[in-house]
């Protein structure tokens, strides 16, 4: 079920009503309702994969309990490896099987050897990367003795499958989200109102900005060879905003939706294009994933408590794996590697005074290099990516493809509105129209946003980009 569908518009009020007026009398009933709703939400897309979700969750629940009870370090380690092995095997099979077999075949072909490994038509279960990581973090934290396992299976299953963040995050840690399934929920007008406003802005980012920009970006990126360097440049800048609004908007809808049930989810995006360094960018972009990789990969590798070369290796590895997490394609791996290199170079030149730029130039510089990396992320193949970058750098041309002028004009309008709002939030955080102290201003803002969304939103049921991850 997509958030920007009428199915969800019907589903959400029903669950909301049942939660507050029927199930909220008992904690267990509330969790049961959330679990049933979440499985319905997920099964709406393809009920066959519910078994996979349930299997992954149940496995980590029992492994978590066993890890806690087990005193023998070797047995404990074995249990831990079983959990990690099964989770990563499922993820690897559904997401990476064809990628690895194709890469294997291509590598042999490069050396003149022809081998045949059949590729399978595998459907990628929506959100598998998200719920697998969330479930894995539970087992890891118990293994590290940072978390005590729950003995409430229903609450745990509801935690893994919690529908607002099930298919595209934020990737929550058990230590933050799981206890909320045991806290009594009290209906509060302020809480619900806040949740609805967060959702409203999320929908704006998604349907007005991201989906609108995607029409232009797709027209350019899906027809490589047919455009000038200027068109690629504009399409890439648009894509940078598109993916921010697509994923940031989705995350906001998830955060707002969770608020409607009294749950607090972590902030996932904090105006990432106002970053003056790549380190700052990654503290603002997909925060739940960045911190996941930091805690469960970068630090276990040694983090920065090692020699400089080893630290750079750790950084680079973390970003390459992060790239692979985003998609089973070499383009994503390169995207991750480019960001790894950015981090390393940035640390190397951190002390060079003459390289310090004024802040606005710094913002532009970081944005431009981020866009360079986005080319790899968005292009269908490495060949397309290099062609696009080559054309931008060597043959910008004189004309700009605008496609449908209406779409182009609405894209500019959407981006401008987004920039104005993000600018105010960044530099004038007290200035907020949605939460203005004057009730008429608040009402007018909500109405204008509703009218804006209905009038300029794209409602063709387009998928969230991050569903594929």
């Amino acid at each position: 079920m997509l958030f920007n569908s009428l199915d969800f518009a019907i589903f959400l009020p029903i669950v909301f009503f049942l939660f507050w007026f029927v199930a909220n009398r008992s904690q267990r009933l509330s969790n049961l309702l959330l679990l049933a709703s979440s499985y319905l939400f997920y099964g709406w897309w393809d009920y066959r994969f519910l078994a996979l979700l349930a299997f992954s969750s149940v496995l980590d629940y029992f492994v978590g309990s066993a890890l806690h009870r087990e005193e023998n370090p070797q047995k404990k380690r074995l249990l831990f490896l079983v959990s990690m092995g099964v989770n990563l095997t499922l993820l690897g099979f559904f997401k990476y099987y064809n990628f690895f077999t194709d890469s294997f075949v291509n590598a042999f072909a490069f050396f003149g050897q022809q081998i045949h490994l059949g590729s399978l038509k595998i459907i990628l279960p929506v959100g598998i990367s998200f719920y697998t990581f969330q479930s894995m973090s539970y087992a890891i934290d118990i293994y590290r003795k940072k978390l005590t396992p729950t003995n409430d299976l229903i609450a745990f299953l509801a935690f893994v499958s919690f529908f607002p963040q099930l298919v595209a995050g934020p990737i929550e840690r058990a230590s933050h989200l799981l206890p909320q399934f045991f806290q009594p929920k009290h209906f509060s007008y302020q809480m619900i109102s806040k949740g609805l406003k967060i959702m409203l802005w999320g929908f704006f980012m998604k349907v007005v900005v991201a989906d609108r920009l995607s029409l232009y970006v797709d027209a350019v990126y899906n027809n490589v060879d047919m455009h000038t360097g200027w068109s690629y440049l504009v399409a890439t800048a648009f894509f940078a905003v598109q993916i921010y609004c697509d994923f940031g908007g989705y995350s906001l809808i998830a955060v707002g939706c969770a608020q409607l049930f009294g749950f607090d989810l972590m902030e996932n995006f904090r105006r990432p294009y106002f970053s003056a360094s790549f380190r700052e960018f990654w503290s603002r972009w997909h925060i739940s994933l960045s911190t996941w990789f930091k805690d469960y990969l970068y630090i276990p590798l040694g983090g920065n408590k090692v020699s400089k070369p080893r630290n750079y290796f750790n950084l680079f590895t973390t970003f390459v794996v992060s790239g692979l997490w985003h998609g089973a394609n070499w383009t994503f791996v390169i995207w991750g590697a480019v960001h790894g290199l950015y981090q390393i170079v940035e640390r190397e030149i951190a002390g060079v005074r003459w390289l310090k730029l004024p802040k606005p130039l710094n913002l532009l510089f970081v944005f431009a290099l981020t866009c360079f990396a986005w080319v790899f992320f968005r292009a269908a193949t490495l060949h397309d990516a290099t062609h696009i970058i080559g054309t931008i750098l060597t043959n910008p041309g004189t004309s700009l493809y605008t496609g449908d002028l209406g779409i182009f004009a609405f894209s500019i309008l959407g981006v401008s509105t987004l920039f104005a709002v993000d600018y105010c939030r960044e530099y004038y955080p007290d200035f907020t129209l949605l939460n203005h102290r004057v009730v008429y201003v608040r009402f007018a803002t909500i109405l204008i946003m509703l009218i804006y969304i209905v009038s300029f939103g794209v409602f063709d049921g387009s998928q969230f980009i991050y569903f594929q991850f």
Partner: protein, 321 residues
Amino acid sequence: MKHLGLKILLVLGLFLVIDQMGGLLLDTLRDHSPDGRYHKAKYTLEHCDEDVVVIGSSRAEINYVSQIIEDSLRMSCWNAGRGGQGMPYFRAVQEGILARYSPKVVILNIDDNDLEGAMAYEHAGFLRPFYSTHPEIRPVLDKTSKFEWLLLKSRLYAYNSSFYYLIRPYLVPGLDGKAEDKGWKPRPGTMDYDPGKKPESEPAKTPLNPEAVAAFDYMVNKFLEKDCQVFFVVSPNYGRSIGSSSAIEYLKKTSEKTGIPVFVYSADTSYITHPELYVDPEHLNIDGAQKFTRELVQQIKPYIQSSKQHSSNDEKVYKGY
């Protein structure tokens, strides 16, 4: 909870009022448009009564000069082609026209891949502003999304994303064709790239889309039931020689069954190797459109000689709209 419910109701109530008032304003803009896309759609659905109607996508809209058809056949002509459209739009236009009258001649411009790709229902969403007043087009628009019928209760949604093209004719008249062009959208200029390109060889055939074929069959049969004389035409592309595709073969098969003439220009070397006739590889420029229409009309003429002789309504021939 009561407080929340009241506020939500208040916001929704105010939104509905603004939505309906905004819809009235947008309806007025649409109805008084001097030319352009909405003017054309309105005329097609509500006013056209010409003898000859051209239906198709941008290649119909740009390649067929209504005035040449009128002058040559001495029958009035309206070009109802619309850029970016496919079978769903053609069906909606057919329903809109046949709800009022039956044209004597219908020229269906079918692209070489029109019956092969997915049905682009969402493109036909261009007609959403007419949903509430034209029940005959609703079955087509209802297929654009599962809850389209519900969403279209909102008047602002009906005009979603249309504002640029709604306002443009007031600011820059004639960009989508002037009113006196009778639906034709002339494209001046000449293609400025790849002039020496040789025609590509025949592309591999892709399978027909059964849904598109069913819609096409229904459309053809309905025109024939209404005693319209139908012609199938495949326009030329620059640099691509397509004498046969799944769609073209299906047109020929239908022609054998129904006797409808088919004119395939997509492999005609007097077009596909002449960049000076094109504004881009898909569309003819003004010179190209005039040459194409003149030649097409000469081919069509013998088929409609008898019906032209029976027509005594000559005053309609040069009527504007």
